[in-house]
Amino acid sequence: MKNMKYLLLRRSVQLGILFLYFSANAYGWHILEGTFGTSLLFGTIPLADPYTTVQVLATGFILGTDVLLGALIITMFYFVVGGRAFCSWVCPINMVTDLANWLRRKLNLDKEEVNYRFLKRSARYWIMVVGIIVSALVGVAAFEVFSPITIMQRGIVFGFGMGFAVVLAIFLFDLFGVKNGWCGHLCPLGAAYSIIGSQSIIRVEHDHEACTNCMDCKVVCPENQVLHMINKSSISVTDGECTNCGRCVDVCNDDALKFSIRNFTKNK
């Protein structure tokens, strides 16, 4: 059970947050109301998705101050806590893609992997920018038209309808298509959080002296390009694409990886 600590903690947080959103509609609780687009914490504190906010602003519509304040609060929060903590600790799609990824390993699908050369991990940044341009052109928040994240969340709170098809599509794409296809290559919200969290304080730190080079961490990591320092140097993972999921910390049997406060001096 030791090597499941952060995984279990993460699932509890994800499910707990979803349950609070669900309860706001089902039981009228005023703890966490709304959806990721804009939420209300304890009936007073606004929280808003920064990327959605930027998309709506790009259309030229002046949003209410609650949304702007909410987006600022969320941006500040992940700027500090960071990495892409939203992706691995809050986003419900993470559970879907983690399951697909786990099944890939169990079914040995990674070994026969087709090399999708046209689909690079940088694609998400392009999609993020194109999403803002499309929003401005069409006059509607473009990612929200099909975002599987809010479709899944609203599905849980208000009922899915045909929306589950989008979630299923993501699952199949990640399982039989590209490894870490959605979260690691396409999702523009993840790209936005990569940028927001790139300077964050809480980071995974590597101890090169303790590492036995087993590479278990690189197998489980959904963004394993960020672990380039493994068995090379004792520095923190500074890349914004790290989701701070802590799975590498869980699987490391050498105590060579742990969460720590970012050491600004050692990392230049």
Binding site: G34, F61, E144, I151, V157
Partner: protein, 274 residues
């Protein structure tokens, strides 16, 4: 040598990325544009005009949650909330996904006096100032969610059968729907009690549509854009001094139409061309 190869690779990847981004952007724009084309939908009170509403709505669902969990919607026997008026558009609803709307025949808008759905809107898609009366109080009667329309061929009151279900169901009783009495010449001794919707008072709540007794409602709410015509500025009610203000700034425009040189007999005798 190596340097220029690198540069060529870089150029190629950049061109490829920009090209794919343009392709994706075009498909994305086309898709986004098509999903927002859904004119037959009723929005919550105070909603901006449909086009602006789709831009402004951040799809948070706070209005729908406020609607479902309002005090008046709690079942007194079970203590649980009933199904609310506002639904959030789901996949398969053929609407912009995540936007709030309602279907009168399922659950109409009950026109709560405190309008719980509107003040919670964080984005401004539901415009509170549009629902304030002269005393700066929220007034649900100022909402214009749609307009009820009567299809008189299927309305049994127009057949001469006595029915005032919609008239009685209307929350603005005898204001938004009035009864017009007419003599029934077929029988010679009965009256028609005809429901007439008053455009300026009807809020589009849909209680009439839900109450209608015919198999498929003969009175139904349509969005304002769909239900209403427009006479245009060039028609003015000369007997109404207020209506003349509407075109107070209009400028006279002199146009000349060239007289036809054809003989009038030619016109009368010519074959019709379509």
């Amino acid at each position: 040598m190596n340097h220029s190869k690198n540069r060529r690779n870089f150029m190629a990847t950049t061109v490829q990325s920009v090209g794919l981004a343009t392709l994706g952007g075009m498909l994305w724009s086309g898709y986004s544009d098509s999903v927002k084309a859904s004119p037959l939908v009723l929005r919550p009170p105070g909603a901006l005009a449909e086009k602006d509403f789709l831009t402004a709505c951040i799809k948070c669902g706070l209005c729908a949650e406020a609607c479902t969990n309002r005090d008046t919607n709690i079942d007194k026997e079970t203590g649980k909330a009933r199904v609310g008026t506002l639904q959030m558009a789901k996949g398969g609803d053929s609407l912009l996904i995540g936007t709030p709307y309602f279907i009168p025949t399922e659950v109409p808008c009950y026109m709560c006096e405190d309008i719980p759905c509107v003040p919670v809107c964080p984005s401004g898609a539901l415009d509170m100032p549009s629902l304030l009366n002269e005393k700066q109080e929220l007034d649900i009667n100022k909402s214009t969610m749609g307009l009820a329309v009567v299809h008189k061929e299927s309305c049994i009151a127009f057949w001469g059968i006595q029915c005032d279900a919609c008239y009685r169901a209307c929350p603005l009783l005898d204001v938004a729907i009035t009864l017009e009495y007419q003599k029934n010449d077929r029988t010679g001794k009965h009256a028609f009690l005809l429901p007439i919707v008053q455009d300026t008072a009807c809020t589009g709540c849909g209680l009439c549509e839900q109450a209608c007794v015919t198999e498929k409602p003969a009175i139904f709410v349509l969005p304002n854009d769909v239900a209403k015509g427009k006479a245009g500025d060039h028609y003015v009610k000369g007997w109404d001094s207020k209506d003349q203000e509407r075109v107070g700034n209009a400028k006279a425009e002199v146009t000349t139409t060239e007289l036809s040189k054809k003989n009038v007999n030619d016109y009368l005798n010519m074959e019709l061309e379509y």
